[in-house]
């Protein structure tokens, strides 16, 4: 206080200086109040932010596609010419339209302005009668001509940067030369054509006007004299039914040829040997008499998307049957555009995802993803049927031609079509797999790989690891807590509690390291010993207890009650050591010296060195202290008068324990288990180091697992920001977050109730 030297006490509080001082104090007080309030609330908001940020990253996964019309214009070039094929280049700045009159018209996509047109080198008097796409990312197509010849060409785009501005120049190239190649010598029109082309081989399959089907392969032969390879042609006629052919499709590896005729019969030829193609089977792909109206490969050219005359869509792909024969199987349907009299007119597959666009005769376009079984949008583009549909290589634009000759350009916002509830949590039938399955395989060496993002194997692994950990931790921790809280001498309790706390604080990376590099090999070589510990430990303890009770009182009273745990330590060490020491002998006696070998030969049980036993032990070790501390608190907190009453009525200490104390404390023990479970579920380093991290779904104790958390820490650094993989990993984190938050909240509420109950008892 400011002493002014005045003797008047009143002055002390009324002088101006003191008034100022008081005001300052009040201001400080208010400021503190606000500062603390703002600080406290912002910390709480920051905590809430974690949840919302995870959700914010995850949500786009489940958004459907947005489409937006950007432009509409009449077809560039001569409007009378029929369009054969529409395509766009990578940046979606330039489009190209091939016409039946043999022209390639390049135009500006944004406004339909004509850029360039090129007359294709088609001989005089010959017309284009058919058309086929090759590999889409190559921009390669083939035209079947009316004279039995075919022309192969690529539309490619050169990107240059004059004056730091991007300029794209379209070009047409002819990989097999400007002159059309002769498929068959007869001058007959090619009504249908399919082809694939790569460096070594170009293969055509053609149907002729007179109803014949030919396979013709041009195989490059290294020439002895100069560098230009010589092409050798093999042409074979394929056996065929009478009905006219609707479509021929050839896969990009020149292995499989599918011919669909107008009776909806699909005929499969194995053409891996181009000189002697083999017909394998025929099946009817019509659906209850529905006719096929359109058919297209998905990217990768394994699956077929079949559009029917009533707007139904079906995905078919070959699956190996029991006799190891590949058979076309109808995998899944999409009925989102189904309506009577509404045939599918055009199907456009995405270039690098298993998605596709579908146009129908009512002017609607649907966006789908095959494996996710997802329809992302159905949009009505116009009232007229849509004749042609093209998708940009990055799947972000589409170009549709109406029957009226109008072109429409739409922007597609569709970043994560491959994720759906089903693809994350359900069995999915992937291409080349024998049956639907749960698979996590986010990346692989090959480019054509489709990411398989099922969270089920990871969640299964998480729960499996937690289960084995709890199997060890729950009994040990709860029994330990019972003894420590109720029977143990206070002096020993003062040692035990800090020891357990230190156990809790041990970094899990150390536990994981020891589990992976020390425990795993040890257990592998001492398997029989490990199992005999399980058997011998309880027997040893009971014998020891019985023996101790038989000792004369004078000996027993040397060590007072409550120190049993100390007495047992040498026994535990001895049994543990003894079991391991006799392990080789046991192994030699019972398992011919090698239990692992014996197990796999006699029992058919596989064995990983880093398996669930190791995880159970290491993670159990990490979870014991968590469960122990909370359970011990709960048991210790049971009011003494309850147990004393029970003892007074003649119950033994153990009876009191079980029927009075444990019963009262059971909610606390439940919450201890919940929190322990939460910790086991989220633990990362131990499972990362002590398991093989393979995403298998197998409950065997001798196999490893891959958990959500370990998966995140392995894959997150490699995931591209904002990619589907990245968001799915965030989803995995969110699942972990929600899971632990849920269990912890239950546990916390139960504990608070219990505390209230104790205070009223």
């Amino acid at each position: 206080m400011n002493s002014s030297g005045d003797n008047q006490t009143a002055g002390l509080f009324t002088s101006e200086a003191s008034a100022n001082h008081r005001r300052r104090r009040m201001v400080k007080d208010t400021l503190t109040r606000y500062a603390v309030g703002v600080g406290g609330i912002s910390v709480i908001i920051a905590i809430v932010l974690i949840f919302f940020y995870l959700l914010f990253v995850v949500l786009p996964l489940f958004q459907s596609a947005d489409v937006e019309k950007r432009a509409s214009y009449g077809v560039p070039g001569t409007a009378q010419d029929e369009t054969l094929y529409l395509a766009m280049e990578e940046q979606a700045e330039i489009g190209v339209r091939f016409t039946t009159s043999g022209k390639a018209v390049f135009f500006d996509l944004t406004n339909g302005k004509f850029i360039l047109d090129e007359r294709l080198p088609i001989p005089e008097g010959v017309s284009i009668t058919s058309f086929a796409k090759g590999q889409m990312d190559q921009g390669i197509i083939a035209l079947g001509l009316s004279n039995g010849q075919a022309l192969v060409l690529r539309h490619i785009y050169r990107v240059t940067y004059p004056n730091d501005k991007r300029q794209i120049t379209p070009q047409i190239k002819y990989p097999l030369g400007e002159a059309p190649v002769e498929i068959i010598s007869d001058e007959v029109a090619l009504t249908q054509i399919a082809f694939q082309s790569n460096e070594e081989q170009t293969t055509f399959a053609v149907a002729t006007d007179d109803g014949r089907l030919f396979l013709s392969a041009f195989i490059a032969e290294e020439s002895m004299f100069d560098d230009t390879p010589e092409l050798e042609q093999f042409t074979t006629e394929l056996e065929l039914s009478d009905s006219p052919i609707l479509r021929i499709l050839m896969d990009q590896d020149h292995q499989n040829l599918y011919v669909v005729d107008q009776n909806n019969t699909l005929t499969y030829f194995d053409i891996s040997d181009a000189e002697s193609p083999e017909k394998h089977y025929q099946i009817n792909i019509s659906d209850d008499g529905r006719n096929v109206s359109s058919i297209e490969f998905l990217t990768g050219t394994i699956s077929l998307i079949v559009g029917y005359e009533d707007g139904l869509l079906a995905q078919w792909f070959p699956v190996r049957d029991a006799t190891d024969q590949k058979v076309m199987i109808r995998i899944r349907d999409f009925d989102h555009q189904q309506a009577s009299g509404n045939p599918i007119t055009s199907i456009a597959s995405e270039f690098d995802r298993k998605g596709f666009l579908v146009a129908d005769s009512q002017g609607r376009v649907g966006i789908y993803h095959s494996t996710a079984e997802r329809n992302l949008a159905v949009t009505e583009l116009s009232a007229n049927p849509i004749k042609h549909l093209a998708i940009a290589p990055r799947a972000n634009w589409m170009l549709a031609e109406e029957e009226s000759g109008q072109l429409q350009l739409w922007h597609i916002h569709n970043d994560h079509p491959e994720i759906s509830w089903k693809s994350l949590w359900g069995k999915v039938w992937y291409e080349s797999y024998p049956e639907p399955d749960y698979i996590w395989q986010s990346s692989s060496a090959s480019n054509d790989h489709e990411p398989k993002l099922s969270l089920v194997p990871l969640s299964f692994g998480t729960l499996k690891a937690a289960f084995y950990a709890m199997l060890l931790a729950a009994p040990l921790a709860i029994l330990g807590a019972i003894f420590t809280a109720y029977f143990m001498a206070p002096k020993m309790r003062n040692v035990v509690k800090p020891s357990i706390e230190i156990m809790e604080a041990l970094p899990t990376v150390i536990l994981g390291f020891l589990a992976g590099l020390w425990l795993a090999p040890l257990i592998e070589t001492h398997l029989p010993g490990t199992f005999s510990i399980l058997l011998l430990m309880p027997i040893g303890i009971l014998l020891c207890a019985w023996g101790w009770c038989q000792l004369p009182r004078s000996v027993r009273h040397v060590i007072p009650d409550g120190w049993e745990a100390m007495l047992l330590i040498p026994l535990v060490i001895f049994v543990g050591w003894g079991s391991l020491a006799m392990s080789p002998t046991l192994e030699a006696m019972l398992f011919d010296g090698n239990m692992r070998y014996w197990m796999s030969e006699e029992m058919g049980i596989g064995f990983d060195q880093r398996n669930s036993i190791i995880v159970g032990l290491a993670m159990g070790f990490a979870v014991i202290p968590t469960i122990f501390s909370i359970a011990e608190d709960a048991i210790y907190g049971v009011p003494r008068h309850l147990s004393q009453g029970s003892l007074a009525l003649g119950a033994t200490p153990w009876q009191t324990m079980i029927f009075v104390v444990l019963l009262t404390a059971s909610p606390g023990i439940f919450s201890a288990l919940m929190i322990g479970m939460g910790r086991a579920v989220g633990e990362t380093m131990i499972v990362l180091m002590a398991t093989g991290n393979t995403a298998v779904m197998d409950f065997s104790i001798f196999e490893g697992m891959r958990t959500l958390s370990a998966n995140i820490s392995v894959e997150m650094p490699e995931a591209e920001v904002d990619s589907t993989h990245y968001r799915v990993l965030f989803l995995a984190a969110l699942v972990l977050f929600l899971f632990t938050f849920f269990f912890n909240t239950i546990a916390e509420i139960v504990r608070q109730r219990l505390r209230k109950k104790y205070s009223t008892l």
């Binding site: 109040r33 709860i478 019972i482 970094p507 080789p584 380093m685 820490s713």
Partner: protein
């Protein structure tokens, strides 16, 4: 306890169950202390210079070779397993001893370790005059010193070689230190300056302010730095020449000769001639090297100083971040917020966050701090460095922030508990004497709660020091090229990546190409980490116990 002497009665009384529950405690204790002892024994044993044992050994296929090495581990293997593996052990009974030898000489054998089985061993000796050479590459060399050379000419041979070697090695080591100083510090500083100049120029260019004057200035500065660099470079070349002058030749136990340049030698010693005193001295020297030196040979040799330093710095930054926020939040919750359902919910939420898996925090840190905050900071403040990220990439700042959020619940809960233990009477007394709430808080409540606050902070630090999973996402690397704290302005580089003890254990133990050789080092690292964490926890427990006693008397 009444003991019935009939078996049934004994069982019914529940006594066996009491013993069973006691055994759970014993098993837990055996596990904890067994683990600590295991780590300690393996970690401390690593530094001891064991005798080198030479022996004649008959291989599986019958060929006889001479091997020499440190005997590291011995285990018993069932005879059947060895017979299956193709050993000829006819006439043997029972289990067979198998030893793991560290034979060194990776340049000759391709491996550091091999195992031998006892029946194949003959003529085991600890030969005199065995030299162990710690090298900067190819690991240790074990063999016999032959001659010392200077510029290719033999200077000393046989017995005289040792004396010549000692003085020359000393010289080479001094040169090595000098070179290291120049390369790491002086040239490092020049590179840093050059990079700064590049960024300065780029920034000016981006602002369209790069004119002739600036150009001149920057060019002048750059020329100066380059001149300094050239001088240093010349000096370095000179030093390298000098350092590479001497070499030694030695013969391995199977008679192969090796020439080792002294520039590649860290130290030499004669383990078989060392007394216990010598060995102790060597032991502590190795411990010191382990604590203070940088790692060699892909982290499998040398020290772990950068990892210790990185861990400590990260934890300090985290403590600086977490303390004020944690304490303010706790004070708000306990002293200012109206106690009602809302605060109850918040309290439960905060409590639960302590149970959220740490890797989730890592994911949040990577997404929010690194990509979102860091990316925006880069776009706003460091456009000149683009497209290389400055803060938009994992680094020590984001690591400590992530761990601060992770440990926030620990601090809040501990502080709140401390606040709640302060008797209401104390607070009311202060208020009754006319103090404002802020003054009561500042002068009375916080000082009284400070031990609790300390406990929370220590627990938070202990948790942060041992946490690895989130750090793997937000900033830790296996080998950081430069420390986050150095002599270049502004000294503390928050954007840099760092090394961490826990991650070091994971990386060296699991990602290292030579796991066998690295394992002892991992044990030593684990021991260090455990020691730090156990000490921190014991401190926290101690403070908490004192605190409880103190308030029992209030």
């Amino acid at each position: 306890m009444s003991v019935n002497n009939t078996k049934v009665g004994w069982f019914r009384s529940g006594t066996p169950w009491v013993w069973m529950s006691a055994s759970a405690v014993s098993i837990s204790l055996v596990m904890v202390f067994g683990l600590l002892i295991l780590i300690a024994a393996r970690g401390l044993g690593y530094f001891w210079p064991a005798d080198l044992v030479a022996m004649d050994y008959t291989e599986r296929d019958g060929t006889e070779i001479r091997v020499m090495g440190e005997q590291r581990e011995t285990s018993l293997v069932p005879l059947e397993r060895l017979l299956d593996a193709g050993f000829h052990l006819e006439g043997h009974q029972g289990d067979v001893e198998r030893h793991l030898l560290k034979i060194g000489n990776r340049d000759l054998y391709g491996i550091d370790f091999r195992s031998v089985i006892e029946p194949g061993v003959k003529n085991r000796t600890t030969p005199e005059g065995v030299i162990a050479i710690e090298r900067r590459e190819w690991g240790n060399f074990y063999g016999f010193l032959n001659e010392v050379k200077e510029a290719g000419n033999v200077i000393a041979e046989g017995d005289a070689a040792h004396a010549a070697l000692v003085t020359r090695l000393e010289r080479a080591l001094i040169l090595h230190d000098e070179i290291k100083h120049i390369e790491k510090i002086e040239i490092g500083a020049i590179n840093y300056q050059l990079e700064r100049l590049r960024l300065k120029q780029r920034k000016l260019e981006l602002n369209n302010a790069f004119d002739a004057q600036h150009e001149q200035e920057i060019a002048a500065e750059r020329a100066e730095e380059e001149k300094r660099y050239e001088v240093l470079q010349k000096k370095l070349m000179d030093l390298y020449d000098q350092m590479n002058r001497d070499s030694l030749t030695a013969v391995s136990v199977d008679g192969r000769q090796v020439e080792v340049n002294l520039a590649k030698v860290v130290r030499i010693f004669y383990p078989n001639e060392m007394t216990v005193g010598d060995k102790l001295q060597h032991y502590f020297m190795k411990v010191w090297e382990f604590l203070s030196d940088e790692p060699r040979e892909a982290n499998t040799e040398g020290g772990i100083f950068p990892a210790i330093f990185g861990t400590v710095l990260m934890v300090i930054l985290m403590a600086i971040l977490v303390t004020p926020f944690g304490v303010v939040a706790a004070i708000y919750l306990r002293e200012y917020a109206t106690q009602g359902p809302v605060t109850r919910v918040i309290r439960i939420a905060v409590n639960n966050l302590a149970g959220v898996p740490s890797v989730v925090y890592g994911v949040f840190g990577l997404g929010f701090f690194v990509y979102f905050l860091g990316g925006n900071i880069d776009a706003l403040f460091f456009p000149e460095a683009g497209p290389a990220p400055t803060f938009g990439t994992p680094g020590i700042l984001w690591s400590s922030l992530t761990l601060a959020i992770l440990t926030l619940p620990v601090v809040i809960v501990a502080t709140e508990e401390g606040l709640s233990r302060i008797p209401l009477a104390v607070r009311e007394g202060s208020l009754a004497l006319g103090a404002t709430k802020a003054e009561t808080l500042w002068r009375i409540v916080i000082p009284m709660a400070s031990p609790a606050l300390m406990t929370g902070l220590i627990l938070a630090v202990a948790r942060a020091a041992g946490e690895v999973a989130p750090l793997m996402l937000v900033g830790v690397v296996k080998l950081a090229p430069s420390m986050p704290l150095d002599g270049n302005f502004p000294f503390l580089h928050l954007d840099r990546k760092f090394m961490h003890l826990g991650f070091h254990i994971y990386d060296v133990g699991f990602q290292s190409p030579n796991v066998e050789a690295a394992r002892p080092l991992v044990y030593a690292t684990a021991l260090l980490l455990v020691l730090v964490i156990v000490i921190l926890n014991l401190a926290a427990i101690h403070i908490r116990n004192r605190l409880r006693e103190k308030y029992q008397s209030v």
